[in-house]
């Protein structure tokens, strides 16, 4: 850790102590919630009301404001999990383990949302609920990767060992994601032929793009709030018998 400047390393050391983190999370969550709600409100207003109707797809394209940000988030969270996994393996940081496993259900949730909204968007566009489109297929495989992480963590009883296992799996998964993505894309062009994926690049107008970006940032803040909540629970579960939890209970009683 010597190549990290001392103040930075001290900061990480302090924030990564469970009671400190717990208190810090409590202090940040209200602010994050306010920012999230503002961004969400602006994004929804812009996307559902202000943005003009698409001349090709009609109003069905408005699903883009959740489908695309959810798909972005599903990838982003998996990468975050791998980063946490790397930190957990190298520096044995408990907090990174906690953040990693707290992120998994949220990422799986976004992946699920991306799949369902993709299907709901696809029905009026393609006429069927499911098409083996490149993005939907990779998203489905990503969902399996998330489920693998969640079940592996659940299956190993010793939670410290489970956290190590999940860190390794997340790193292996993140190396594979680009390979899976490109293989699926190649497969898609081979078998699908001329089906144009309408979800990929709609020629997008600024009034349509701004709400999309607003929603994407709003989802990032949602992730922060949700992961902090889940991490608080996970920390409590792991440290039930420690001093700071006892102090916390006494303060509440």
């Amino acid at each position: 850790m010597s190549w990290i400047p001392a103040p930075v390393s001290r900061f990480f050391h302090r924030t990564s102590s469970p009671p400190h983190f717990y208190a810090l999370a409590d202090r940040f969550i209200p602010w994050l919630t306010v920012i999230f709600l503002l961004l969400l409100g602006a994004g929804l207003y812009g996307g559902l009301y202000l943005a003009p109707t698409d001349y090709q797809q009609g109003d069905s394209y408005r699903i883009i404001y959740i489908h695309v940000p959810a798909a972005w988030m599903s990838l982003f969270i998996y990468v975050m999990m791998a980063v946490m996994g790397g930190i957990a393996l190298i520096w044995r940081m408990k907090l990174a383990e906690v953040m990693l496993i707290s992120s998994a259900p949220i990422g799986a949730g976004f992946t699920f949302v991306a799949l369902v909204t993709g299907s709901l968007w696809g029905k009026p566009m393609w006429g069927t609920w499911w098409v083996w489109d490149a993005r939907l297929t990779s998203e489905l495989i990503l969902l399996f990767l998330y489920l693998g992480v969640i079940s592996l963590y659940g299956a190993i009883e010793e939670k410290r060992a489970a956290a190590r296992a999940v860190s390794i799996l997340a790193l292996v998964g993140v190396v594979n994601i680009p390979i899976i993505h490109y293989s699926v894309q190649w497969w898609n062009t081979l078998h699908q032929g001329p089906t144009v994926s309408k979800m990929d690049k709609p020629s997008i107008h600024v009034s349509m793009l701004v709400p999309l970006l607003l929603m994407a940032v709003a989802f990032k803040f949602y992730y922060l709030i949700a992961v902090l909540q889940a991490a608080k629970l996970e920390l409590l579960k792991r440290e039930t018998s420690s001093q700071w939890v006892k102090a916390l209970l006494e303060k509440q009683a």
Binding site: L89, I141, F144, L145, L147, G148, S151, L152, A155, I156, E158, A161, R164, A165, I168, L169, L171, V172, G173, V175, N176, I179, I180, Y182, S183, V184, W186, W187, L190
Partner: protein, 224 residues
């Protein structure tokens, strides 16, 4: 060098063990043939349909056969304490693990090459695709053993890890399945397959380098 001696000793011991347990060794092979036989029975025996499906059917069956055989990779070593001894060896665990994976492939992956022509005949795969089928099997079955090793190492400590293993490993097998069956498919219609074979080779080489490390880490976690 002692580490190379240890590496060969592992391969030799595992091959010897497989030979002593040869009754078990044939099981994945029978499974492979059996699954392929099920497809004509399920979808009907129209030659055109079977010929179109042949690459996919053979490769899905190979995937399932590999999955079935994975458990034997570390199971007996875990149960009888040999794995603990390997962890305590002064040699790098990842090298020993690579030896185990290679031995496992020689025992479970290589025999698939022998029955592949039989299955190709069953499904009416054109003769011009036969060479490609062999090549993809040579390149991709070691990949299945390598990628699978990570999954087994993560789940070997669990009493009922079988279903979990398939959930962990099958998504990672997707690129192998796509490129291998894609290559056979193209070969059957007389198209060039260099790109697919090159990608499979690249994947195999990088897996040989990248897989032993996480596998060793996962085994350490499992022994705990």
């Amino acid at each position: 060098m002692p580490i190379i001696q240890a590496f060969w000793a592992i391969i030799r011991r595992d091959l010897l063990l497989a030979f002593r347990r040869r009754a078990e060794m044939a099981n994945p092979l029978f499974f492979f043939v059996l699954v392929v036989t099920l497809f004509p029975l399920a979808v009907g025996a129209q030659p055109n349909l079977l010929r179109a499906m042949a690459p996919g059917v053979i490769w899905v069956s190979a995937l399932l056969a590999a999955l079935l055989s994975l458990d034997s990779l570390f199971r007996s070593d875990f149960d009888d304490g040999s794995l603990e001894q390997m962890l305590l060896s002064p040699h790098a665990l990842s090298v020993l693990v690579l030896g185990k994976i290679i031995a496992h492939w020689l025992v479970t992956g290589l025999p698939l090459l022998l029955v592949a022509p039989l299955l190709a005949v069953f499904l009416g795969l054109p003769e011009q695709a036969m060479g490609t089928l062999w090549l993809t099997l040579i390149l991709a079955t070691p990949l299945l053993s390598l990628i699978g090793a990570i999954g087994v190492a993560l789940t070997v400590g669990l009493r009922r890890g079988g279903m979990l293993l398939s959930l962990l490993v099958l998504p990672l097998y997707v690129p192998v399945l796509i490129f291998a069956s894609g290559a056979v498919d193209r070969a059957a219609s007389g198209l060039p397959v260099d790109a697919q074979l090159n990608i499979l080779t690249a994947m195999l080489l990088s897996a040989l380098v990248l897989v032993p490390l996480p596998t060793a880490a996962a085994l350490k976690m499992s022994v705990n």
